[in-house]
């Protein structure tokens, strides 16, 4: 009788490999242990590397394995402005996701807007930008995009003190703007038409808005950007992969 032998070693896909299979334009694992380069492993490659400013590297275990930095809520950020990002970012078809964990529960009620991710466009601030942030209103997070003035905004309740995956998708072609929290999307709203074409200086950051204002308080890991709106199934898979 022949017996079929199972492989002794099963090859397991890493979380990074899982993410990269979805072809993000930017994937910043934020897992560096030294230096100031926040390496991008997405399709825009090293031209879209970020720069660590002030964060404490390798400070906590991240979802999906590896370590991640701490943002001090005072003057820390990862600056991601680059000509490569400006050229490669599709402002009309877009997905952003990041894992986040706040320092403690009081962050949710501190009355300060704290940014997960911000990209500001054009010389007239406030008319074209993306923002994923904790609101000044207690226990709320916000996905917002100003498209030539009018805003699409999604506020959601959140007071999680463990890791959570936050982000959202924008598709002007489908006129859908959807925020996602832990793989669960909310009701779509319309998008408007984005007209931003150039970056405002210093207003492209992970964990801050500008000049370290709106600084995040806690840990961020696996910041990801795509030039398309991911499906709900894809986002759920990315969430599950980090658990």
């Amino acid at each position: 009788m022949r017996r079929r032998l199972l492989p002794l070693i099963s090859k397991q896909e890493s979380y990074a490999q899982q993410i990269l299979k979805t072809n993000p334009i930017c994937y910043w694992p934020l897992n560096e242990t030294s230096g100031t380069a926040a390496n991008n492993y997405g399709n825009l490659s090293t031209g879209a590397n970020g720069t660590y400013v002030g964060v404490t590297l390798s400070n906590a275990l991240a979802p999906g394995g590896g370590m991640c930095p701490l943002w001090d809520a005072v003057n820390d950020r990862v600056a991601i402005s680059s000509a490569t990002l400006l050229a490669g970012l599709n402002t009309r078809e877009f997905t952003f996701l990041v894992w986040a964990k706040v320092t403690n529960s009081s962050v949710w009620t501190d009355g300060v807007e704290r940014s997960f991710f911000y990209i500001g466009y054009n010389s007239n601030p406030g008319t074209n930008f993306f923002s994923f942030n904790k609101r000044t209103t207690a226990n709320q997070i916000q996905m917002i995009r100003y498209a030539n003035g009018p805003a699409s905004t999604k506020n959601r309740a959140c007071s999680l003190t463990d890791w959570f995956l936050y982000g959202g998708t924008i598709s002007e072609s489908a006129n859908q703007f959807i925020s996602y929290l832990n793989g669960v999307g909310d009701t779509p709203i319309g998008t408007g038409t984005f007209t931003g074409t150039s970056f405002i200086s210093n207003q492209q950051n992970i964990g801050s808005v500008t000049n370290a204002i709106g600084g995040f308080s806690g840990w961020l890991a696996h910041a990801m950007l795509w030039d398309r709106a991911l499906t709900s199934t894809e986002i759920t898979a990315i969430y599950n992969g980090g658990l």
């Binding site: 964060v55 005072v74 807007e113 406030g126 923002s131 942030n133």
Partner: protein, 140 residues
């Protein structure tokens, strides 16, 4: 050596004087080539551009009231005895106010004081920011 946070608030300096001072302070730091970003000098500017919070690993002898006075004396290019200062203790640490020609010119605050640990200094600056959020926080 002091790894922590301090701030300056410009009360009455010309734009050129302010730029000179801020440029000097941005160059301070004992580990600005460190492999660890939180040890390098980095800062946050208040939206009105009249105050800055710095964090780095500093030579604490360069952050004393007298040392900052010397910088101001050089910036104003006046005799040393014409710049005076007073020090007060606040909930966030010592604050030094500098006066020249009967006008208050600059405020210096060391979050937690120069003997504070990084965490103590961070706790102090967070309390300061919480108490002064309207001035320091950009609300979108």
């Amino acid at each position: 050596m002091f790894h922590g946070y301090f701030y300056i608030e410009v009360l009455s300096l010309t734009a050129g004087q302010k730029t000179t001072l801020v440029d000097q302070l941005q160059q301070m730091g004992l580990k600005n080539n460190s492999l660890y970003p939180h040890e390098r000098n980095h800062w946050r500017t208040r939206p009105d551009n009249n105050a800055v919070i710095f964090e780095a690993v500093f030579d604490d002898t360069l952050l004393t009231a007298e040392s900052i006075k010397t910088r101001l004396v050089n910036i104003f290019n006046v005799p040393s005895n014409q710049v005076t200062f007073t020090t007060t203790q606040t909930a966030y640490g010592p604050v030094v106010t500098y006066t020249y020609s009967n006008v208050q010119r600059l405020r210096l605050g060391i979050f937690g004081g120069l003997s504070a640990t990084l965490q103590q200094s961070r706790d102090a600056v967070l309390a300061f920011l919480a108490a002064n959020g309207a001035a320091w926080t950009e609300i979108l």
